[in-house]
């Protein structure tokens, strides 16, 4: 596991955070920790969340006994994570379904309270749900609708203006700017239910950004959108973030979103942070091999390609091989010495593949761990 906190990042926070630090909520925090706390926009220490879920056995009889005696199981959705995000960073959360990404976002937006640990966003503890905090962040969930379904989006915007206490001229300026950037000017007067998914998402984003939040949480904002709509949303987010320097935490399953937007990637699996760094770093760290593509001259394909590495694909006169990272130089020189090769390329495996492999690996490790735990009798 990689600790994020130790890493120094070049940026300085541009705004002073209000110091609503409450020592009583952080029993083991020191003043030095407090100093760190006001440096970053988001600071998470040992954050834990477990749920109690009802375990129902199969069948009618079990349903009836379940009426009287319930069998509960603890699910650890987030298992004590540490994370620091500085003001103006755009961070992606990656991880398989059920890894704890959404739970983390819910914790940081105060929808749920943790089982343990501490978090501070802009100097506030999210789950205290103070209005001062609620006016400074926004949460957009790709699968949830926050606008009034039967009314045009502009009515929802008007409501947001009031509940977030946005000054009238400020409101108009921000709204016009967002509407311009997202190109939804003509759609403002149309009932939300008549909008397409992509148009609705743009309206959701506008509504969420009207009060110019300092921190934005995006939970799969491009889910279910077509490629063009996805691209538009990406373009907007990139532009807006660069312009406003707000802090954004994004979860997405689309690697394209992540590649386009975030320099920093945090991978969560089974409630733990397993990687924190650059997108390119994932490949260096988790991929043990490279993909070697050979274009043979004069259509003379050697028959013993397997001795160089795992053969992935052969379409004469081309062959794709999976070669161990450490032996790539050796393999390459040997191939070039022994065969007539017209063209050669060495590539990293696709990011999706690396991440999928990594998820599979962590899932296996997790299963092994659970199995080992259940074998050893508790003292």
């Amino acid at each position: 596991m990689i600790k994020a906190g130790a890493k120094a990042r070049g940026q300085q926070s541009s705004k002073p955070c209000p110091s609503t630090f409450r020592p009583d909520l952080y029993p083991d925090a020191h003043w030095s920790a407090y100093n760190l706390l006001i440096m970053s926009a988001i600071k998470i220490r040992g954050l834990k969340k477990s749920y109690r879920v009802y375990r129902k056995k199969e069948g009618l009889l079990a349903s009836i006994t379940g009426l009287f005696q319930r069998d509960y199981r603890e699910v650890d959705a987030v298992k004590g994570i540490d994370l620091d995000v500085e003001q103006g960073e755009f961070v992606a959360f990656l991880g398989p379904n059920g890894a704890g990404k959404t739970t983390t976002l819910k914790l940081l937006s105060g929808v749920i309270s943790p089982t343990g640990g501490a978090a501070s966003v802009l100097g506030h503890t999210p789950w205290l749900r103070e209005n001062e905090y609620r006016r400074r962040f926004a949460l957009v969930m790709g699968q949830k609708n926050q606008l009034w379904w039967d009314l045009p989006a502009q009515e929802s915007f008007r409501l947001h203006q009031k509940i977030y206490r946005i000054d009238s001229s400020e409101f108009q300026r921000t709204r016009d700017e967002l509407v311009d950037l997202l190109e939804v000017g003509q759609l403002l007067g149309q009932p939300v239910r008549e909008l397409s998914l992509g148009e609705r998402m743009k309206m959701e984003l506008t509504a969420a950004l009207l009060h110019s939040p300092d921190v934005l949480f995006l939970d799969e904002p491009t889910i279910g959108l077509d490629v063009i709509a996805q691209h538009n949303i990406q373009k907007f987010l990139k532009h807006y973030q660069a312009m406003r320097k707000i802090t954004i935490l994004l979860t997405s399953h689309y690697m394209k979103d992540v590649a386009a937007l975030c320099r920093r990637v945090v991978i969560i699996a089974h409630g733990e942070i397993v990687y924190d760094g650059s997108l390119a770093g994932i490949v260096d760290r988790f991929s043990s091999h490279k993909v070697l593509t050979l274009h043979f001259a004069e259509e003379r394909m050697p028959s013993d390609l397997a001795r160089y590495g795992e053969v992935l694909e052969i379409v004469e006169p081309k062959a794709k091989l999976r070669v161990d990272r450490s032996s790539i130089a050796k393999v390459l020189s040997s191939v070039l010495a022994n065969h007539a090769v017209e063209d050669v390329s060495v590539e990293d495996p696709p990011l999706e593949e690396v991440i999928a492999d990594m998820f599979a690996l962590t899932a296996k490790n997790q299963a092994d761990k659970v199995a080992a735990e259940s074998l050893t009798p508790s003292p």
Binding site: V111, I112, W127, L151, K162, I163, P191
Partner: protein
């Protein structure tokens, strides 16, 4: 304070707009509510035709019809269709999160949306109500004195607030049990019998009458109607209004406590 008032005003305006989106359905639903009046008038006419004396427990046929029309009016203030089930639905499908994330108070929001709902309802129903009351004017004993009428209006407003906070409290229970349909059914049954919607409560035998006196339901329909008809006077009238107010305060507090506890449970449980 001004900012808050402006927020409320905006919510009210937007809720009104939303209400008017489905105006056709709304108008039809409103008119349909008048059908039971006609059947009730026929029913009681038949009951009185069968009885020898011409009065039942002190009520003449005219009294009964007048009483029934007045409870209709009271119910137009105190009934809250879809309030509790709406809260339950929002909890179930997670829409309630909005009120945890945004700086907006759930109860104030629901109250304003409900006021908007009622205003549109009165707008649509005012004509038909006036017509029915005009046609049935001979059933009424006459216009009450000004102070009695003022008390009647006050009891109507209080019955709106009682209905709202009572049913909103019921809705908050959805934080504990996701499905509250059967609970609401029991509640509906209780209000149906013990609010006086079905028959005048003073027809009940003593034991039940005492029981009903201790419950909040009679202030939803029976009480305003009885005030109008001059059945509750003087000291008893003030006392009645005071108890009604006390119930309103009780449910304002319980509704808020339930919401707080519900939010805590919701956020502890997983959103």
């Amino acid at each position: 304070m001004v900012a808050r008032a402006l927020t409320w005003w905006t919510i009210l305006k937007i809720s009104l707009e939303e209400r008017l989106v489905y105006r056709g359905d709304f108008a039809l639903g409103t008119l349909m509510r008048f059908l039971p009046i006609v059947t009730q008038i026929f029913l009681w006419t038949a009951v009185f035709a069968a009885s020898e004396s011409g009065t039942i427990v002190g009520y003449s046929r005219n009294d009964i019809v007048a009483y029934y029309l007045l409870t209709m009016l009271a119910r137009a203030f105190s009934s809250m269709p879809g309030l509790a089930s709406g809260i339950a639905r929002q909890v179930r499908d997670g829409e309630i999160k909005k009120f945890l994330i945004q700086p907006i108070d759930l109860i104030s929001y629901l109250l304003l949306a409900r006021i908007a709902h009622k205003l549109v309802y009165y707008l649509v129903a005012a004509g038909p109500f006036a017509l029915v009351y005009y046609l049935c004017r001979s059933y009424f004993p006459g216009w009450p004195a000004t102070d009695v009428f003022a008390a009647f209006l006050l009891s109507l407003v209080l019955s709106f607030m009682l209905g709202f906070f009572l049913e909103a409290s019921m809705g908050m229970i959805a934080f504990w049990f996701l499905e509250v349909t059967s609970l609401l059914f029991v509640y509906m049954l209780f209000t149906f019998f013990f609010s006086g919607h079905m028959f005048p409560l003073d027809m009940l035998p003593d034991f039940w009458l005492t029981l009903v006196d201790y419950m909040p339901f009679k202030y939803l329909a029976y009480f305003p109607a009885a005030v109008f008809l001059g059945k509750i006077e003087g000291e008893a009238l003030y006392q009645g209004l005071l108890i009604q107010t006390a119930w309103v305060v009780f449910f304002i507090v319980s509704c808020r406590l339930l919401m707080q506890a519900g939010f805590n449970r919701y956020s502890g449980f997983g959103g």
